[in-house]
Each structure stands twice: as structure tokens, then as C-alpha cells.
């Protein structure tokens, strides 16, 4: 053994002892955690990793580069804006929320690495809003085996609603299967003669959507084509839809593939009606991607005029909506670059739910307390979402409904249905009769601590 390697070994040994001692210290503290919303900043204690006396660290992974980055990379800036807003008003139980997000480029291999880093090195208290089905799936086991609350995964896959195997993971947005059912029922009732083609991302996103939509219009579907994220040539798929005679195409795809499918259809002189599921339908983003191709003939959002989509959050064009007004104020105050977009509203809405969960978990919560708070109180949280969450001890599914709308010339959405509530499997679709929520005066939720 050389001298350097001997020294290395002793350094490593010292480091190991230090971490072990730190870990033991952590165990002692967590005994006193949990419960109780009362008290003052003096009563704050560090509990689990990431929860100190005056801060709580929340982590996430997003595609900040690569094919999925357009739009999605704006979500964490929205989250940041809302957390800043809450922090400026005293934080949650006198703790500042720290927000740390890393780029995984929409590549599951990277997601595993960055989540490892967030959990093991940065020691986040909880994850929030990790984006993507395949990507987040790569981190699912690690988060659940480490007992890290894995909240509000930004994907509508049904994978996140499995409390038995993944007790720490919670969905947030409506699942793709329910969305498919709502789309299917709308087409069956309003467009019974349409010959429907499906344009699907070839993973759970497309599969779940297809399963839902086929429950209602299996006999109307004339073709189903799928694409792999990263392959940009859609010639074969769109040609096949055209050849099959589809005059109404439903897409379960990401925003850049909305742009690519529109361009490819244009090149083929193929003019069906389009219905893009919520994920791929942002008119501002798709409009800005397509703008250059129209050489000024049509501009911006009008390229998606007449396209059907679904909504489960208020959108940026609804300037009279009190939630949009709140988020506009929060965004302006945050002083970040760029405009308020639907993606930033999405991020702020998730951050709003996160603050509700932290409030419900009490002054000194452990990671398990946070999960328990969502299971007990999460189903009653009121926020910007148009339909309530489905959280309970047996369910970790997010928002349970959405409405069908059509995009107008200025990018605004015209509501075609009320809010429709449903669930996976053969649950019925029903009209939601609850009242629309309004934000609290302060703009910050005020949930009572459970227990």
C-alpha cells in the first residue's frame, strides 16, 4: 500500500464515522418530531433530513434541455416564484422553503443520477413535481426505499397511484386514462360520425390514454399510430393516419410533437380536426414553435385555432379568473425573466398544493407525517385545480376531472363542457357540481395541522 492510498483510506474511514454519527444524531431528533400546528419559531426542531429549524428543502427533476424542454423547463420557475412569495410572507411555520431542481434532459438514466444526488447528497426533505413518466419511474424505487415523500409527479401515468407498493409517491394531475375516457365520451356524444385516428407517444402516456378513449369509441377508431420521443420524422405515422381515412385525430403527445404533427400534416395536405390532450396543447408554446414556418401568414396562437383540448387548471388567457390574477401578481413580484405562461401556472399550482401539504403536516413533521397529512387532509384541499384531488389512505391519485374546450383565434379556450369527474377503470363520468374555489385574500393557503 502506497502512502497516498493509506492516507485515502484513513480519510474515508474518518468520513464514514462522521456520517454514521450524524445519522445517529438525526435519529435522536426525529423522536421528538411531528404533530401540532401551534407554537412559534422557537418551537421549531430539525426532524428528518432536509427539515431544519428554519428551512425545508424540496427537490425535483425537469427536462431543462433536450426535446421535452420547450415549455416544461418553465414549470420550475413558476414553482420558484410561488415559494418566493410564501417565503417573503414568513414561509411555512417560520421555515423558508428551499427549492432545488436539476436537469435530467428527459432521459431516465440521468433522472436516476440526479435524484440520487438530490436524496443522498443534497438531502432533500421531499421531492415535488418530478416530471415525466419514464423518467420519474427510474427514480421511483429509490425514493420509496429511502422513504422520501415523492409528491405531485408531473405526469398523468397511473403508476403514481399505488400506495401499497409506493407509499411515498403521489400523483397530482388527472391521470391519462381518465382523460382518455372524458375525450372518448365527448367524441361519442358530439361527433359520432368522426373517423378517429390516434397519435400516441409509445409509453404509458399514450397507452393509458388509448385505454381510456377506447372504452367509449373503440368502433370509431380507424387507426392508432405511435412515435418514440426523439425521433422527429413523423412522415410514416401521419401518412398512415391519412391513408386510413381518419378525419379526427386525437394526440397524446408532448408539445414539440404537436408542432411536428401539425407541420407534417401541412406537408401532406392533410386537414383533419385535431384534439390534443392537455399535455401537448399549450397554444402559446406550440404557436411560438410554429410561427417561423408560417412566414407571417398566420401568427402565434392562431395556428392552433379550432383545436380541441382539455383543461384542469385555469389558463393564462382567463384574465378575470382570481387564481390567474393571483399568479400574475406572484409572477410579477418574483421579477424573473419572461411572461406568465400556462406552464408557470402549473408550477405555481403545484407549489400551492405543496404549501397546503406542509401546513397540514404540522410544525415539526417527519417525512412520514407529510405523507399522512396528504392522505388524511389532501382530499379536501381547495386550490386552483378545477376538480378535487382523490387523495386518501387507499388512493394517491391527483385531480379527478377536467373539462373539454376548444382553442380560439387568440389562444383562449372556449369551454365546451362543464367539469367532468371520473376515475380509472369503469368508473362513470359525471358532471362536477362543487363550487369553483377562490384563492384566499393573502394568496397563501391556511390548512389546519392534522392530528
Amino acid at each position: 500500500m502506497t502512502r497516498t492510498s493509506r492516507r485515502l483510506v484513513s480519510v474515508l474511514a474518518a468520513a464514514t464515522i462522521a456520517t454514521t454519527m450524524a445519522a445517529c444524531g438525526g435519529d435522536d431528533d426525529s423522536g421528538g418530531g411531528g404533530g401540532g400546528g401551534g407554537g412559534t419559531a422557537e418551537d421549531n426542531e430539525a426532524t428528518d433530513p432536509g427539515m431544519t429549524e428554519d428551512s425545508v428543502l424540496i427537490g425535483a427533476h425537469y427536462p431543462l434541455t433536450g426535446p421535452a424542454a420547450p415549455g416544461y423547463s418553465e414549470i420550475p420557475t413558476g414553482v420558484q416564484a410561488y415559494f418566493d412569495f410564501v417565503n417573503a410572507n414568513g414561509g411555512v411555520y417560520d421555515r423558508q422553503i428551499e427549492w432545488r431542481y436539476l436537469d435530467d434532459g428527459y432521459n431516465p438514466t440521468n433522472t436516476g443520477q440526479v435524484v440520487n444526488q438530490l436524496v443522498l447528497e443534497d438531502e432533500v426533505f421531499a421531492m415535488m413535481g418530478g416530471l415525466g413518466t419514464a423518467t420519474h419511474n427510474a427514480a421511483l424505487d429509490l425514493l420509496n426505499s429511502e422513504g422520501v415523500p415523492d409528491l405531485f409527479v408531473a405526469s398523468g401515468s397511473s403508476l403514481w397511484d399505488n400506495p401499497e407498493d409506493n407509499p411515498y409517491t403521489f400523483g397530482w394531475q388527472p391521470d391519462y386514462e381518465s382523460e382518455g375516457k372524458i375525450i372518448g365520451q365527448y367524441i361519442a356524444e358530439n361527433l359520432p360520425d368522426a373517423k378517429v385516428g390516434l397519435f400516441l407517444q409509445d409509453d404509458d402516456f399514450g397507452e393509458d390514454g388509448e385505454r381510456g378513449i377506447r372504452q367509449y369509441i373503440d368502433d370509431q377508431i380507424v387507426a392508432a399510430e405511435s412515435y418514440t420521443s426523439g425521433n422527429t420524422d413523423l412522415g410514416a405515422q401521419i401518412t398512415a393516419l391519412q391513408q386510413a381515412g381518419a378525419d379526427f385525430v386525437v394526440g397524446f403527445n408532448t408539445p414539440i410533437y404537436t408542432a411536428l404533427s401539425q407541420l407534417t400534416a401541412l406537408r401532406l395536405n392533410y386537414q383533419p380536426e385535431w384534439f390534443y390532450s392537455n399535455v401537448g396543447s399549450d397554444p402559446q408554446l406550440v404557436g411560438s414553435l410554429l410561427e417561423r414556418f408560417s412566414s407571417g401568414a398566420v401568427t402565434g396562437t392562431s395556428l392552433l385555432e379550432g383545436v380541441y383540448t382539455t383543461d384542469y387548471l385555469p389558463t393564462v388567457d382567463e384574465v378575470d379568473n382570481p387564481w390567474v390574477q393571483l399568479f400574475q401578481r406572484v409572477w410579477d413580484e418574483s421579477g424573473q425573466e419572461g411572461e406568465l405562461t400556462n406552464f408557470r401556472i402549473y408550477g405555481m399550482s403545484q407549489a400551492y398544493t405543496m404549501v397546503q401539504a406542509l401546513q397540514a403536516a404540522g410544525r415539526n413533521p417527519t417525512r412520514d407525517d407529510l405523507v399522512a397529512a396528504l392522505e388524511q387532509a389532501g382530499g379536501d384541499f381547495e386550490g386552483p385545480a378545477l376538480a378535487p384531488f382523490r387523495y386518501s389512505e387507499d388512493r394517491h391519485a391527483g385531480i379527478g376531472g377536467m373539462g373539454v374546450s376548444r382553442i380560439g383565434a387568440d389562444g383562449s379556450a372556449e369551454e365546451l363542457t362543464g367539469i367532468l369527474i371520473t376515475d380509472v377503470g369503469d368508473a362513470e363520468i359525471e358532471e362536477y357540481d362543487g363550487e369553483e374555489s377562490t384563492p384566499p385574500e393573502s394568496g397563501i393557503p391556511d390548512e389546519e395541522a392534522i392530528g
Binding site: 425521433n231 420524422d233 410514416a236 398512415a240 414539440i256
Partner: protein, 295 residues
């Protein structure tokens, strides 16, 4: 039948783009016996230079010329400054250097142009011709004709250069036997630099053609093409410009049939399966005349 026709034409168009990229790899292989893994990010860099020119109000054609010149300069500089020290050493060194270059150039492009996807408008309309009522051939548009024509002309020019000019002869001689060429008065060093410069210019052309084809570009948009271009070059034997073009076309056709008749997600695997089969059956590639020769 219509589907077959449209897949075949699409395969020819995609294949000609793979061919252009393979041509660039072949040129470098011929001159320095190095597989240049940085080819993709070099082409991305020149494409973004062209985009900057076009954004400043110039036409596509000015952008194209600037990109080609930038390619020439970049290729020559890289050969002189970075590759020259590892030339003639162990093969692995040069490969690692080009891999490092690949990452470094990609990072530089991202710093300069940002990481977001942006639209790239091709020079000609890419709206397909309507063959008959209700049937439009996507792969037959003014832009795809330009793409194929540009690749064919480039290939012919390269063949002419190598076959019929003294310069081409000197380049071939330098690649074939440096010592002998030097004894005969060929400035071997210059020939190698020229080989890299030419290759980077052809790569720049491929980059612009691909950008017009894929519609949206980011600093990583050439990554997928590296694999396909490499397979096309190996198919053709790495040594022959005609082989590169034929290899590119065959690969384009094969992949488009896979895409149309099987599944989109099998593309990457299909290209590697083809690579393995070719290497098993004809290790020297389809067009190699001297299978026993090694680098």
C-alpha cells in the same frame, strides 16, 4: 402499394442525408484513418452559425455559404491544432480526442445558442406533391428534391476531385502511404489538413440539409445522425465515397421500412442489427476492394 412507394421515397431522402454525413466520415477516414465522432457537433455548430446569419436578415443561401466556409476553417483548425499531435499514435488516442471534441463543441454551441429547440425553415417548400386526389407524397417536395440533388452533386464533385485532379491524387497518395507520398514531393501535412477541411464542409452541408428536414433544432439535434451516419459509412466500407452514398441509401430505405411496417421505437436497434450483420458477412463493408487492409 402507395404506402410502399411513399416509404421508399422517404427512405431515399433520409438515406441521402445519412449519405452526406457518411461522406464526411469517409473523407476523414481516407485522409487520416480516424473515425471522427465530433462530426455531429461540428455540423451542429456550423448549422447554428448559418442560423445566426439567416436571423440577421440574410438569405438561406448566404447562410449556406457561410456555413460551408466555417466548416472548412473549423475542419482545418481542428486537424492542425488538436488532431495533429495524436496522428500516427495509437488509434484509441485519436478516437478519445474526437469524443472529447464532440462534447466540448456541443457545450460551446449550447453556450452560444442556448439549449432550447428552435424552428428551422428549409429553403424550399416541403409541402409534398399531390400525386392524385387525396394522396400526397410527403417525400416528394421541392425541398426533398433539393436535398437529394445537393448530396448527389457533392458526391460527384468529390469523385471528380479524387479521380481526375492532381490534388485528389496527392490526397489519395498521402492517405495511402505517407512515406512514399512525402518522398514523391507531396506535402502530406497539407493534404491531411485539406481532408479534414473538406470533410467538415461536407458535414456542414449535411447539417443544414438535416435541419431543413427535422424542422426543429437544438445543439444536440445531430446526435441521432451520428449513429446512422456511422453505420452508413461502415456499410459502404469506410473508404469509398460511392460506398458511403450507397450505404446511406440502403440504410435509409431499411430504416424507413422498419418505421413504416414495424415500429418507430426499433430504429436504433435496427441500425445496429444491420451493422452487426454487415460486419459478420463482409467485415470490410459492401464496397471494400481490399478487405485485408487494416488501418
Amino acid at each position: 402499394m402507395e404506402e410502399f412507394l411513399s416509404l421508399t421515397l422517404g427512405g431515399v431522402v433520409n438515406g441521402s442525408v445519412y449519405a452526406a454525413f457518411a461522406l464526411a466520415l469517409v473523407l476523414i477516414w481516407r485522409s487520416t484513418r480516424i473515425v471522427n465522432f465530433a462530426q455531429g457537433s461540428m455540423a451542429a455548430a456550423t448549422t447554428f452559425i448559418a442560423v445566426a446569419v439567416i436571423d440577421s436578415g440574410q438569405s438561406y443561401w448566404v447562410g449556406l455559404i457561410v456555413a460551408l466556409l466555417a466548416g472548412l476553417v473549423m475542419g482545418a483548425l481542428i486537424e492542425r491544432v488538436i488532431i495533429r499531435p495524436v496522428e500516427g499514435g495509437p488509434e484509441l488516442n485519436a478516437v478519445i480526442v474526437t469524443l472529447g471534441l464532440f462534447i466540448a463543441i456541443q457545450g460551446a454551441v449550447a453556450l452560444f445558442a442556448g439549449v432550447n429547440q428552435r424552428a428551422f425553415v428549409p429553403p424550399f417548400s416541403n409541402i409534398g406533391y399531390e400525386v392524385r386526389e387525396g394522396f400526397t407524397l410527403l417525400s416528394l417536395s421541392p425541398n426533398t428534391i433539393w436535398t437529394v440533388a445537393a448530396v448527389v452533386v457533392t458526391m460527384l464533385l468529390l469523385i471528380a476531385l479524387f479521380r481526375f485532379t492532381r490534388l485528389g491524387l496527392a490526397m489519395r497518395a498521402s492517405a495511402f502511404g505517407q512515406e512514399v507520398a512525402r518522398l514523391l514531393g507531396v506535402r502530406v501535412g497539407r493534404m491531411l489538413t485539406l481532408g479534414w477541411a473538406l470533410a467538415a464542409a461536407v458535414g456542414a452541408l449535411a447539417g443544414l440539409l438535416i435541419a431543413g428536414d427535422v424542422s426543429f433544432i437544438s445543439p444536440t439535434f445531430m446526435d441521432q445522425l451520428i449513429v446512422f451516419g456511422f453505420v452508413a459509412a461502415v456499410l459502404g466500407g469506410l473508404d469509398s465515397p460511392i460506398g458511403a452514398v450507397v450505404g446511406g441509401l440502403l440504410l435509409g430505405l431499411a430504416l424507413n421500412y422498419v418505421r413504416g411496417y414495424l415500429d418507430d421505437s426499433l430504429l436504433g436497434m435496427a441500425s445496429l442489427v444491420i451493422l452487426v450483420i454487415v460486419l459478420l458477412v463482409r467485415p470490410g463493408g459492401l464496397f471494400s476492394t481490399t478487405p485485408a487492409r487494416r488501418a
